[in-house]
Symmetry: C2
Subunit: 346 residues, 2 copies
Amino acid sequence: MTRKPTIKDVARAAQVSTATVSRVLEHASSVRPQTRERVLKAVAEVDYSPNVIARNLRRQETRSIFLVVRDMHNPFYLEVFHGVEAEARALGYNVFMGNTEDSVQRGRAYFQMLKTRYADGMILMTGKLPPDQQEILQAEYPPVVVASEYFPELDLPTVRIDNVTAAAAAVKHLIALGHRRIAHITGPTPEVLSRDRHQGYLQAHGEAGIIADPRLTVRGNFTIDSGHRACRKLAGLKPMPTAVFCSNDEMAMGAINELRRLGLSVPEQVSVVGFDDIVFAGAFHPPLTTIHQPRQAMGKAAMRLLGDLLAGLAVSSEPIMMPTELIVRGSTAPPAQGGQTTPKEV
Amino acid sequence: MTRKPTIKDVARAAQVSTATVSRVLEHASSVRPQTRERVLKAVAEVDYSPNVIARNLRRQETRSIFLVVRDMHNPFYLEVFHGVEAEARALGYNVFMGNTEDSVQRGRAYFQMLKTRYADGMILMTGKLPPDQQEILQAEYPPVVVASEYFPELDLPTVRIDNVTAAAAAVKHLIALGHRRIAHITGPTPEVLSRDRHQGYLQAHGEAGIIADPRLTVRGNFTIDSGHRACRKLAGLKPMPTAVFCSNDEMAMGAINELRRLGLSVPEQVSVVGFDDIVFAGAFHPPLTTIHQPRQAMGKAAMRLLGDLLAGLAVSSEPIMMPTELIVRGSTAPPAQGGQTTPKEV
DNA sequence: ATGAAAGCGCTAACAT
DNA sequence: ATGTTAGCGCTTTCAT
């Protein structure tokens, strides 16, 4: 026999109906031990394994979900995925990895696949939503939860952090060290996550009674290289900032490398703070002071939320807020005494 | 109507049979333009999208594959995934991300799911194979291809690099710089990939007529922390090695940090070479000299190979070998002049 | 060019 | 405790 054996083959071998075979394999309920034994033996005999595709049709579910991120290259997502995967496995789901590369069209494709029931639900970690996807709020649409990001205009179940407060904590740390001229390398605006972190930056200034110089805010895009470029711009300012708050760790690494190239030492001459606490933040030199996000826990929470939705449970409409923590390492210190920081000529 | 509309709803609205609707949506063949128009209008009217689950049963396929890695935390896989995903999308597949965490049992679970047709095929990036899975060579078993790793005892279609030659190139670079006392921090033995890289290390020594001191070979497990620990061991030797070849970049970073802690500067006092060229290798300080692997291309090639297998095409039984390249950056230099390298007291 | 009908393999409601 | 049966929604062969 070259085809995969079906439940009928087992039924024939065990001299029972297919229903009984299904019962033995699914619920282990209401089957005489003797019959059960016979079925199990037949299963082994013909080397049967159920055909999930048929089961899916019958049950109208796939037991799989999409996890869609904006940018595969950020290791931040690796750990979120780790949490999602662990929880999904516990709940009996598998996880499709999706990747929009920030393209609205690519995002739309995932919504479309969801609609065709390619998967039972979706965890969205992108900052953009296709413009025409308001139908996702309708009851018969498969459940979608948002993680890390969020959409103020759309009332979707969400797991995230308080970016404003977390960013403010980072900047307050710099202020407490004595810094007064603090730059901000932001994420890609106008996304809400970037906006929130900048608002935290401003809020920390406000609370300390410091006026934030708008020239000290430079736009990045979360890559190491954008950290280089943004930092180069900042280095051209007079007086230079004595500290830089970066909206993620990659940009902080880029900024530090650029400062080193300019002959400035971190943290002695310039302090740098990152955001995310990716695995490499602690291994970097100097080790990055940064905001820790509970990535894995966030992934788990998102999957748990989606699992509840898939199980038909009612969930709170309030976003689930995950805690963050300022991790002080070696990239921050009090500002250099008496005098101004200037790059050497280049 | 609260349920998802079916093809029957469209057929009714367009006054045609379901077969015609299917024809319009699938092949665009043999349908009068006029009828076709009417069907399309009805599709829009009832907001129909096909049910993939039913299609899957009919076609006996899921158009999805598993990508199974050993350790989610290595950013190496991110880029492989990127290549796999891009190629898969082009071929009309989606990718389940799997993760064995080096557990044979977890690996077995993926093979089991493959057997139940949870997915159509699998790309394996793990170094271990469940002992009882020899059945995967049988014709009716879904196709499995191996990427990056390989199994000498099992004749599976494979995409990989020549680890022996690549490792030898790294060590030859150190020898060419003048190093004679070169340590090796290996990956987890007895896996073939770790073994091959060590063999390359030995081969380079052999070709240069240098006797490799076996005490200079220390076992790691591909984590940053194992790089720390291994390097600490090496630092206890007298005389210390003047260079360290690490079987991946994470361990190289750990080794460099440990050397720094011991008061030794890289590359002035000790040279360090990594392997993989992960994204952070270039951003590290000092930037890592390492072996570049074409991760994304490897992912694409693996998916293309799997796609061919899924399409029923015959594929070569020879492994597809991807090119590697030595990238010389700042973590290697000639050995310190006249005299021996010793750590300061700790 | 179109329709009728079979059937993919399974599960669960219903019957005994 | 077990069997019978009706689909799940689609695609495709066969007929017209």
